[in-house]
Structures are given as structure tokens and as C-alpha cells.
Amino acid sequence: MVDIKTTKENDTCRIVVVGEVDASSSIQLDNAIKAAFETEKKIMVDLSGLEYISSAGLGVFVSHLEDIRSGIDLVLFGLSESVLQVFELLGLPQLIQITTTEEEALAKLG
């Protein structure tokens, strides 16, 4: 249901998520994010292909909030309106950097 690809350009890790993240596919997302957080300092997640995310999928980001506070830069970008609404309702934009475009995301990572 979901396709996740991790690539690395310069010092930035890019994770591209395409499809739907529900309870079962959230495990794949968690594995990808966990792996990136172990080795990388700058991570950008391309969610432009994300059609739907369930609460379990959101839990993946929630579980890494502490790592973000401890100095790892994470930026999400390209969220569709409905996906962004889900993030907003939960109050996540106050804790995770979310931008509209890739350029903005790159700028945030510096």
C-alpha cells in the first residue's frame, strides 16, 4: 500500500513516501525513519505522494519527536490539503517543520 524510498544527496537524507500509510504499512515508514534517524542529521520527507495517513502512521512521527528536539533536523514537505489537515488537527506543525515546497524544505535544513 505504500512505497518508501530513501536516498542521500550531499549531507541530506531524503525519504519519499508514496501511497497510503495505515496501521500495517506504518511499520515500513517506521523502519525507514528509524534507519535515517540512526545515521543522519538532516532529513527531509517528501509527502507529496502521500494520499492518506492513519493515526498509526502519525504515531511514527510522534515517536521521533524527542530525536528532533535532540538536534536532528526533520522537514516534511509537499503535504496534500487533506494530509496537512490531519497533521494540523493533531497539533503537529508546532512540533515538526512542515513546508509546502522542496526548496523551502532545503532552505530550512540549511
Binding site: D22, A23, S54, S55, G59, V60, L65, L89, Q94, L95
Partner: protein, 648 residues
């Protein structure tokens, strides 16, 4: 001394005696439901012994008084002779009845017919004897040849011998030989009496008796010879029989409630005995025991390691290292080793559901101790064991699943009791709820408490994820709500405290979204806070518009420190008569139909407007009906809850 009796009279008496004895032994030996051949032969032997001792006593008496007038008295001689006849007839008939049982063991229809003919022939000869034919007369000889022919054919039926083991065969030979000696002794004794020339009734004149003698002698001679020649092959038969028994044991291992360990033991034992292995081991690797559980026979762990090291290539190596994938050709699983005395090795994989569960290794102290035939036998054992083990795991899996189902059913019942059965309220509003979980248990929670008169606390909460873990957190949420929802704890304060409490007990990936409402029926106001939950809708009866009650708010358990208080707000809205408050969880707007379309917030709002004039129950049922119509049979994969409050 002259007795004037018609010669037919003693013949009739004799015939009656024979018929009676026959009937007695038929009942006695055939009723005794023993197929133990040795027991039957023992019966012949014992009857023979008793009758022979009797015959010897008669001979002794005869010998002692031979020179006296008593010994030469025809009456005395005939008396002794008749006693002897009695003994002989008893022995002959009991022997014939036993032979009958042995001959008719594993009978066919033709054999049974043949035997019946033989019996008719005996009856015929009995009648023939009544007519009084002289010994060796022409008719007498014909009748004798006729019956002897039958005896010969019948005597070739010796299937029972194959079922004897070596020891039993030796015993049989002994018993039958002794019976033969008895027969010889009887014949010679009869002849001795005949030579006195004083007999008024000569047994040799009876075709029946002579025929029985011939039959018994024939069968005795043939069975002794056959048993004798069968002796060398009996070990092979014994082994085949043992294999069959072992095979049966393996196939019965499961139904009789044996454990897997017992199946492995039986497999090991029967394989070893079938191929005469001197040592063996069986290694079973399961998820619980990845390093293998060993069943050893005459071998030590160190020797196994040595063998594993020694065999560096080929299928045997694959098998003992659990790397088997394909079918095994039987000539590739035998080979050579050199570990202490062991010289030959045979290794077979135990495959269950296409995966190697175990490896069975058999060892022998001689070179080329195993051949393909032996491999085939062990393969049969291994296959049977595999089936048994597979059945065993299937059975235990089924039991486990059944247990889980029962446990989940219990969990479902428990969870149902966590949700309020009745929602208590006053006349100012009506309320009803609907909740359904995607799985047996869910993570949605709602509750209504009367905090004080005219003040009600209404909560809706949704634990992230679904299923059992969500259900546990839902129960925690209920505990927190019931302990923290007090008249002086405003919704925003409630969430701050709840977040602190939940931060300590929620899993890292879990969070809870919730909305908490104070409904004040005195001031007609709703004070509320939202903790990341989907917005609640307030339908205005006056304007017909739907207001989305949002306000800033973060889910519980997301930010697990003091900063949380910065992200939760308190809001107050007034309500009037005819207004409808709609609480729900994200399962409803996110419900998807076959074309992957979401029910979404807009459809929900529209549905609320459409049904807003009804009672709370009608509104709820109307919305659920519309949702079901939209889904058109697609099963929801999230928990969903709907609460309708209508103000009067």
C-alpha cells in the same frame, strides 16, 4: 463266553461314540477363541500325553497278565482293547479338530468348501463302516484312497506357520513331532492287539479311523517339514512384521494424544531397529529451539560435532546442517564416516510444510551397512512422522486460535462494559451514541458525567492505532477521565493533567486525541477544549448552519513535558434550543468506499443538517444509514464513534 449280539450293535455304539467325541471337541476347541497356534498345538500335545499314558497302562496290564488265564481271556482282552479304542478316538478327533482350525486359518471360499467335502466324506465313511466292511476289502480300499486324497490336499494349507516367530516354530516342531510319536505308538499298540486274534471288533476295519490316522500323520509330517524349512527365513518375517507394527505406532502417535517428543522417540527407535543401526541421533530445530533439540542413541554430542565436521560435501552435509531444499534421491543419503567404530552413515531430513524440521542420522559399525532398500524403509518412517508432526502442529494451532478467540471475546465484553450503558442527562438535552470497533476491541472512548447539577462533562477520545493495544490505552483513558473530571477542573486543565498522566503510561508511538465539553444547562453554554481531536460540529437550529468547534489543541501523549500546556486552548460557545452537537471520531470522515473516496467532513456536515430536525436517535440513525449507503458494503478498517446531543 458267548455273547449273542448282532455285529451291527457294537458298530452303532462305536459310531455314536465318534459322533459324540467329535461334537464335544468341536464345541470345546472352536469355541475357545484362541488363535494362538502354540496353545492349540499344546492342546494336542497334552491330550496325546494323557491318552498315551492311558494306552501305556493298558499295554503294561496286558503285558503283566499275558501269561495268566486272565490275560488270555477274550473278554479281558476285548475290554482292554475297547478302552484303548476310546483313548485313540479321543486323541485322533481332538487332533483333527485342531488341524481344522490351523488349516482354516485365513480361509478362502474354496478351502472352506474343500473342508466341508472332507467332513462329508468322513460322515460317509462312518455310514460305510456301519455296513461292516473287512479291513483291506476292495470297497474299503477305494473309500480309503478317496479320503486320503482329500487329506493330502488339505494338508498343504499351512499358512499359519508364517505367523510364527523363530522360537514358536521350534516349539511347534517339538509338539508336532511328539504328536507323531503318539500316533505311531497307538498304531503299534493296535497292531499288537490285532495279533492276539481274539478281537470281536477290529478298529482297523473302520475306514474312518484309518482315514483319520492317515490325515493326522500326513498333516503332522508336512507341517513339521514346512516349519523346519521356514526356520531360516523367520527372522526376515519377524522384521517385516516389526516394521509394520512400528509404522502403525507412528501413525497412531497423534490420535492417542502422544506428544511430539514421543513421536520423535518412536521414529528413532523404529528406524534404528529397521536398519540395524548401531547408533543414531535426531536433531529437531524449531523457532523455540534454533540450536536444535537432540535425541541421542549410543552417541555423544562430541561425536556428532566430529561427524558434522568430517562430512564436508554432498547431500548428507546439507541434511545434517539443515540446508535441504529439494527432494532427496535415496542413493545420495548413504555414505562413509570414520568416527571411532562407525563406518556407515545414513541421513534423512524430516520435512514439515516444505521446511526442514529435523535431521535423522543413522550409523553402523560396518562398511556399506546401508542400502537403498533400507533407506526406503526409513523414508517411510520419516514421512509418517512428518505427517504426525504436521497434524500435531495443526491441531495445537487450531486450539491456540480457539483460545485466542475466546480471549478476544472476553476482551470485547470487558471493553463494552467500559463504555457507559446509560447516558444520564436532564431535560435540557437529549443524547445518544453509536460505537463500533474495526476489530474485536477498539480504541474509541466516550463518556458523560454529571459533575454537579446543571453541569455535565462529556468526553470523546480516540487512541491512535486500533485493536488490542488501543483498547488498553482506551481503558487507561477511562481511568484518567473518571479520576480527573471534577466540577472545578476546567476542560483545558483536565487535558494538561491528563497529558501528564498519559505521558507516563502511553507507548512511544501511541497518542490519544480527545475533546472534552462542559455542558452548562443553567447558562446554556458549552465550555470545551480539543486535544488534537477532529472538530466537533454544532448545528444551529436558528440559522441552519454548522459551526466547527476547533480551537488550538494538541493530541495527548505527543508532547510529553510541561510545554504541552502552551498548545491547548479553552473555548466557550452558547447554545440554544434546537441546536445539535455532533461528536465523532476520525473513523467516520475517513471511511472509504470501493472507489477509495472518503466520506469526509463535508458529507458528515451535510448529513447532520439533513437529519437535524429529528430526535437524537433519529439523527444518529440517519447519519449512520447514510454512511452505510456511502460505503456500500465495504468494511471499515478503523473504529468509529458518533455522539449526538440535541438541546431542548
Amino acid at each position: 463266553m458267548k455273547v449273542n449280539l448282532a455285529p451291527i450293535v457294537p458298530r452303532i455304539f462305536f459310531a455314536l461314540f465318534i459322533v459324540c467325541t467329535f461334537s464335544y471337541y468341536r464345541v470345546k476347541i472352536i469355541k475357545a477363541d484362541s488363535v494362538n497356534f502354540i496353545d492349540l498345538l499344546w492342546k494336542i500335545f497334552m491330550t496325546g500325553l494323557v491318552t498315551t499314558v492311558g494306552a501305556l497302562a493298558i499295554r503294561f496290564f496286558d503285558y503283566v497278565f499275558a501269561s495268566t488265564s486272565l490275560g488270555q481271556n477274550p473278554a479281558m482282552v476285548n475290554l482292554l482293547y475297547h478302552l484303548l479304542i476310546g483313548l485313540i478316538v479321543v486323541f485322533l478327533i481332538s487332533t483333527v479338530v485342531v488341524w481344522k482350525r490351523l488349516i482354516l486359518y485365513q480361509k478362502s471360499k474354496t478351502l472352506l468348501q474343500l473342508w466341508n467335502f472332507f467332513e462329508y466324506a468322513l460322515v460317509f465313511s462312518l455310514v460305510f463302516d456301519l455296513l461292516g466292511n473287512e479291513f483291506k476289502s476292495e470297497l474299503y480300499v477305494y473309500a480309503l484312497i478317496f479320503v486320503t486324497g482329500f487329506s493330502l490336499v488339505l494338508s498343504l494349507n499351512l499358512k499359519w506357520i508364517a505367523y510364527l516367530n523363530f522360537k514358536q516354530k521350534l516349539k511347534s516342531i517339538l509338539f508336532i513331532l511328539l504328536s507323531g510319536i503318539y500316533l505311531y505308538h497307538f498304531i503299534s499298540t493296535l497292531l499288537a492287539f490285532k495279533q492276539t486274534g481274539l478281537l470281536i471288533f477290529d478298529l482297523y476295519d473302520n475306514v474312518l479311523v484309518v482315514a483319520l490316522f492317515i490325515f493326522c500323520l500326513l498333516y503332522t509330517a508336512i507341517s513339521v517339514l514346512v516349519t523346519l524349512f521356514n526356520l531360516p527365513t523367520s527372522s526376515v518375517f519377524e522384521r517385516k512384521l516389526q516394521e509394520a507394527v512400528d509404522f502403525q505406532k507412528l501413525s497412531q502417535a497423534i490420535p492417542s494424544g502422544q506428544t511430539e517428543e514421543q513421536t520423535y522417540d518412536i521414529l528413532l527407535e523404529s528406524s534404528m531397529s529397521a536398519v540395524f543401526a548401531d547408533a543414531a541421533w535426531l536433531e529437531i530445530r524449531t523457532k523455540e529451539h534454533p540450536d536444535g533439540v537432540f535425541y541421542l542413541r549410543e552417541i555423544k554430542h562430541s561425536q556428532i560435532s566430529d561427524i558434522k565436521e568430517q562430512i564436508e560435501s554432498g547431500l548428507i552435509r546439507d541434511i545434517i546442517r539443515f540446508e535441504t531444499t529439494a527432494m532427496i534421491p535415496s542413493n545420495k543419503v548413504i555414505g562413509h564416516v570414520k568416527i571411532q567404530n562407525m563406518k556407515s552413515i545414513m541421513a534423512l531430513p524430516v520435512m514439515v510444510k516444505g521446511e526442514q524440521l529435523g535431521s535423522l542420522v543413522l550409523l553402523q559399525e560396518v562398511n556399506d551397512g546401508f542400502n537403498r532398500d533400507l533407506v526406503d524403509i526409513v523414508v517411510t518412517f520419516v514421512n509418517q512422522a512428518s505427517i504426525s508432526i504436521e497434524n500435531f502442529t495443526l491441531l495445537s494451532d487450531a486450539l491456540k486460535n480457539e483460545r485466542y478467540k475466546v480471549q478476544l471475546k472476553i476482551a470485547q465484553e470487558v471493553q463494552k462494559s467500559l463504555l457507559p450503558e446509560h447516558l444520564t442527562h436532564n431535560d435540557h438535552f437529549g443524547i445518544c451514541a453509536f460505537a463500533e470497533a474495526a476489530e474485536e476491541v477498539g480504541g474509541d472512548y466516550y463518556d458523560l458525567l454529571e459533575l454537579e447539577s446543571d453541569k455535565y462533562g462529556l468526553i470523546i477520545a480516540d487512541v491512535s492505532g486500533k485493536g488490542t493495544s488501543a483498547a488498553f490505552h482506551m481503558a487507561q483513558m477511562k481511568g484518567i477521565f473518571h479520576s480527573l473530571a471534577l466540577p472545578d477542573v476546567r476542560p483545558v486543565e483536565f487535558f494538561k493533567t491528563a497529558n501528564k498522566a498519559l505521558s507516563a503510561c502511553l507507548e512511544k508511538k501511541s497518542f490519544i486525541t480527545a475533546s472534552y465539553f462542559w455542558i452548562n444547562t443553567l447558562t446554556s453554554e458549552i465550555e470545551f477544549s480539543r486535544a488534537g481531536h477532529v472538530p466537533t460540529y454544532l448545528y444551529s437550529g436558528a440559522t441552519g448552519e454548522v459551526q466547527s468547534l476547533e480551537g488550538g489543541g494538541m493530541g495527548l501523549g505527543i508532547l510529553r513535558n510541561q510545554d504541552y500546556s502552551k498548545y491547548v486552548e479553552s473555548m466557550t460557545v452558547p447554545y440554544s434550543k434546537g441546536d445539535v452537537l455532533l461528536l465523532y471520531t476520525d473513523g467516520i470522515p475517513e471511511a472509504k468506499n470501493q472507489t477509495n473516496q472518503q466520506f469526509d467532513f463535508e458529507r458528515l456536515k451535510k448529513s447532520l443538517k439533513k437529519h437535524s430536525t429529528g430526535t437524537p436517535t433519529q439523527i444518529r440513525d440517519g447519519i449512520i444509514a447514510e454512511l452505510n449507503e456511502f460505503l456500500d458494503g465495504v468494511k471499515l478498517d478503523d473504529d468509529y464513534t458518533l455522539i449526538v446531543v440535541k438541546f431542548n
